[in-house]
């Protein structure tokens, strides 16, 4: 009997997960469908850009600076063994532009802005603001979800680019200013090795994908949260866990497509 119960439990969970994915897909479709309205009222998007983009600036800049500085230090220690300290700029720039910039910025964005979005929408639902909107014939997806979605999609590439730029500056501070790697070779080797289309643009594409996925997960978890205190806290946790995993897995897939054997 216990066996049957376990099997039933597993089946129930699998069906539930697939069900949720289906609902999330419909949610994504509706968000795109109703976003025409939010572009007509662009100040709604601007407001969300402030809360998800501008408010994430400090954490992105500080984290980027330190990640770049660590890359500079570690890279120097390793490259010194082969006498190629001059390649430090290449290492820092490629590491940041291709991988660390989009990925870490997206992870920070998920935990800083994504969790806030989930909690906000979950609480709106718990306090029946969303039902009130529906009563007034205001479409909550067009009014609440779509502006947040586009704000996330717009701000993510900008944040990732900022992260990479500040990180390269951090690598420059440690490598050139502190340790004393030759400044000319730091920049010139970097420029020779980093390709605009291959590296910079692919990084932007990565961060666009991450922005879409993270924002979508955060909004869906908020919209789908049980309207209780416990439900909202669980949804917030799920946002951070799911979007972090999604970022790292998608990063592998995107890297495999973009940089295969190049």
């Amino acid at each position: 009997m216990a066996l049957i119960k376990t099997i039933r439990e597993i089946g129930h969970r699998v069906i539930n997960a697939v069900w949720r994915i289906g609902v999330a897909a419909r949610f994504f479709f509706l968000t795109i469908l109703y976003s025409g309205n939010s572009f007509r009222r662009f100040n709604l998007i601007v407001k969300e850009l402030f809360s998800s983009g501008v408010m994430s600036l400090i954490i992105i800049i500080v984290a980027g600076l330190f990640v770049g500085m660590v890359l500079g230090l570690q890279g120097y220690e390793t490259l010194k063994r082969y006498g190629s300290e001059s390649a430090l700029g290449v290492m820092v720039a490629l590491g940041l532009v291709r991988e660390l910039g989009p990925v870490i910025a997206a992870l920070l964005f998920a935990s800083r802005a994504g969790s806030a979005m989930t909690a906000e929408i979950g609480l709106m639902k718990a306090t029946e603001q969303i039902s009130a909107m529906e009563m007034m014939a205001v479409n909550p997806i067009a009014r609440i979800v779509a502006p947040r979605f586009w704000a996330g999609v717009i701000s993510m590439p900008l944040l990732a680019a900022l992260f990479s730029a500040v990180g390269i500056f951090g690598g420059y501070l440690v490598g050139v200013v502190q340790i004393g790697v030759d400044e000319g070779s730091f920049w010139s080797q970097m420029q020779a090795a980093v390709d605009f289309r291959e590296d910079v643009l692919n990084g932007v594409i990565k961060s666009l994908v991450f922005g879409t996925v993270v924002t979508l997960i955060a909004l869906f978890e908020g919209f789908d949260a049980p309207p209780t205190a416990e439900g909202v806290s669980g949804a917030t946790t799920r946002t951070v866990v799911t979007s972090s995993l999604a970022i790292l897995m998608l990063d592998f897939v995107l890297t495999a497509i973009m940089f295969r054997g190049a």
């Binding site: 402030f50 501008v54 600036l57 720039a93 532009v97 900008l158 680019a161």
Partner: protein, 156 residues
């Protein structure tokens, strides 16, 4: 439209993001350094390209004049057919010599051009006749070993 401080902040955020994208493109990437819009194509056969890769640089007297576009194996000759794009500003004589060189001991490989004295210039689609293959470290070592072994015993 009334303007709010919120707009100012968002504007600053967007400007900072776009500025860092431009920084990545121009200062970190190669968009600002070398514009290869006006080029002509040259071909060359090499019996061994070593570690030469597409996008490797082509230099004359140390100055970057072009890029390698593609490397294919020509099955009629069993030699590597290297396609190069050279900047239109630089013209080279018909008897130019193409070498595959290495920057530093273990650095990346590039093609070094050595212009000859011909008065006629290479045109789009022409082929560089004289080439020298890449130096392969293993060949060099084995040559050295054989020559050592072949040396008369008198040196001992």
């Amino acid at each position: 439209m009334e303007r709010t401080t919120l707009d100012l902040w968002v504007g600053m955020f967007v400007v900072a993001g776009v500025a860092s994208l431009v920084f990545l493109a121009m200062k970190v990437g190669n968009l600002g350094t070398y514009n290869m819009s006006n080029t002509y194509e040259l071909h060359a056969y090499f019996s061994n390209v070593g570690g030469l890769k597409p996008k490797a640089s082509i230099k004359d007297a140390g100055v970057l004049v072009g890029r390698v576009v593609s490397i294919n194996l020509d099955t009629n000759r069993y030699e590597a057919d290297v396609v190069m794009h050279i900047d239109k500003r630089y013209q080279f004589p018909k008897d130019t010599f193409a070498n595959i060189l290495t920057s530093g001991l273990l650095g990346e490989q590039y093609i070094g051009l050595m212009p000859g004295g011909d008065t006629e210039m290479l045109k789009n689609g022409d082929r560089i006749k004289q080439t020298q293959s890449a130096m392969v470290l293993e060949d060099l070592i084995s040559k050295f070993m054989f020559s050592k072994a072949a040396e008369p015993a008198a040196t001992k």
